[in-house]
Symmetry: C2
Subunit: 391 residues, 2 copies
């Protein structure tokens, strides 16, 4: 399986200008004077700034995006050399760590100079977001900004990020192709008698060799005819005849993720597992077919559930049948009952039907797609209808 050449890393200034222009239109529509970004993904989306140093919780970082005009970086000194290489011109720093005031007073100064219209500044306070600064410092900041409402900016931020640019889609396709190629090699890498952990290590190395930058998410779970859960592991269980081996990966290329799984049959599968496998494969097809502009996330759920019910209950502990994807392993929307998010051109989604067809035995499929004007385009290489065999 040949992976197309890697796209150029990073994005040009015109791309960022388009992103910010679209963001500012949405901000004005949602009545925000500015947005403050603190999380790695949101900051990278707006600035291109890339670092693995987010693993250190010591220092907060801030990007202020005014409703008009250029973004302003308020970052610890350790980040200054690399921030000057981004497209941003206005970069302010403080000596950090400084636990008594790690950037809050400097950020307050910036926010106090923003032109006020609504008086509302959006922060990452709501849905599927966790503010990356101490809550105590956020509450202090609020006290430093009388007359300003620090409001929940999560809905507008997700509205901005859910629709991807063509350059972002190219990045996601590339990591999807890398992982597709690595998954195709699993029958060469894994043997019965290996542990889940040994199998996962072999796939982790293969992903790096195929060109993945990192692999933050790689569960490897096995069980006779299906798996009990899909989010923990690998463990030390030994692969045996009749097992399903479930691999899932969120690997990255230049800050963009894939998130899709593959199931392998260790030797011969029980009939019930084979029937379930076929139903999940068809449910995936149904989900892909339903994913068109104008449909809702809930419509995708129903399209998949109509087939899942052939073999088992349509509710399982995952709680949804796929979700958004991009700079994080999962993003809104959720393909579930009650999520009426309208699917738009440019959204990247996972299609993830799964079923616990008998207690303790789940089979879950997953592919990644991008929404085009006339329907879904597959970013992954579609899984074969029958599981590949490990022998």
């Amino acid at each position: 399986m040949t992976i197309p050449p890697a796209p150029p890393r990073g994005f040009d200034t015109a791309e960022f200008a388009r992103r910010i222009d679209r963001a500012q239109r949405l901000m004005r529509a949602h009545n925000f004077d500015g947005l403050v970004l603190t999380t790695p993904h949101n900051i990278r989306w707006a600035t291109g700034f890339d670092s693995q140093f987010w693993e250190s919780p010591t220092r907060p970082w801030f990007i202020t995006l005014p409703a008009d005009g250029a973004p302003i970086a308020v970052v610890p000194e350790i980040g200054a050399p690399q921030f000057t290489e981004t497209w941003l011109d206005d970069i302010r720093t403080w000596p950090s760590p400084r636990p008594e005031d790690d950037g809050a007073s400097l950020l307050a100064d910036v926010l106090n100079t923003l032109p006020r219209s609504s008086g509302r500044i959006g922060f990452e306070l709501g849905r599927e977001m966790a503010l990356r600064m101490p809550v105590t410092q956020f509450l202090d900041l609020r006290d430093r900004l009388p007359g300003v409402e620090l409001a929940d900016g999560a809905e507008v931020i997700w509205a901005i990020r859910m629709v991807k640019t063509e350059a972002e889609i190219t990045h996601i396709r590339h990591i999807c192709q890398i992982a597709s190629a690595a998954y195709a090699r699993v029958p060469d890498l894994v043997r019965p008698g290996m542990t889940e952990r040994e199998a996962a290590r072999a796939l982790r190395i293969e992903l790096a060799q195929q060109g993945a930058d990192s692999t933050p998410f790689l569960p490897a779970i096995s069980g006779p005819g299906g798996v009990p859960q899909i989010v923990c592991g690998p463990g030390d269980r030994v692969l045996r005849d009749g097992d399903v081996l479930f691999f899932d990966t969120g690997s990255t290329f230049d800050g963009y993720w894939c998130d899709f799984d593959r199931n392998y049959a260790v030797g011969a599968l029980p009939d019930a597992a084979r029937r379930t496998q076929d139903a999940m494969w068809r449910a995936t097809d149904a989900g892909i077919a339903a994913a068109r502009p104008g449909a809702t996330a809930e419509d995708l759920f129903h399209a998949m559930a109509a087939i899942i019910q052939e073999v088992g209950p349509t509710d399982n502990n995952v709680g949804r049948l796929g979700h958004g994807l991009g700079m994080q392993l999962t993003e809104p929307p959720s393909h579930m009952f009650g999520d009426r998010t309208v699917i738009e051109e440019g959204m990247v989604l996972t299609i993830e039907p799964g079923v616990e067809y008998t207690p303790g035995k789940m089979i879950v499929h997953e592919e990644n797609i991008v929404i085009r004007a006339d329907g879904a385009e597959l970013l992954t290489t579609r899984a074969p209808r029958e599981m590949l065999i490990i022998q």
Copy 2:
């Protein structure tokens, strides 16, 4: 270089009982009726629960640790199968995603039944912590708990986590030994003419082959005679004669991290770089010698700074000369002016002297140690006094 056999994965129930007993003594001393944990590291510390699924921001997870009695898990259904395998008995779940109430009402029920003494419940609100739940839901929760003070629990949580058990130290030593062995092989893996990115990929694969579970942090930065910064990269710069190649890694084994760097000379180094290298090596020795029970983090800073000043300024953009280490890449304390944290037996620390000896050229060393009654024990294999050569 031979790595000792891996220690057993996970920890027995007696270990968790000891951790909780110590935590509860500190909680009572700090006047908390309970602590609520939401972040991966704190939850794993208390329960042993391991998942890579924290990469998905969709669902919050909660552990309530009462001042007396057993911890209570309040987790989304997707996590229930694996939570029943931890040492916890009291596991409550809700069907998630449920954006309108993702666990908050269930958590409020649990907190309302805790015995009240001080009326204070600690949350991860302060120093070097970011609450892993939407702030809007945290503020809602506060409204659901009249008469309860949701206070900053960060200081008590860090007091608990800063001192490691012997089993934790064994885990950290193992990943330090894995990374030491991988670093020793760099002269076999890297050649002049490779890019930083190619060099990093070679080391990433070597770390996995030596037994690292994951490598979330692996900057690879190069520059003539030194590097301009130490937290971003790798990039596409090509390694040339006279360069310093700086590698740093936070890799993990069973949830525990190493965090130490190594510098390599590409061909022959300029004299000023060689002098700086020697000073940083001696500064590291001085930091290790100063790291004894009863000293403060600030004392460690001064011990290293006394030697750094031979070759350049003692303030650089990193802002400190080392820090705590354990379940995260960096933890308190910070070896810097003003951090009076008293060093105790069982603390695991990095010793990280660095200097920008001329503008744009930094050399930074780093080792990992554990504090014993009579001084520091090295967990890493000490770097050679002269840089290994890439040729």
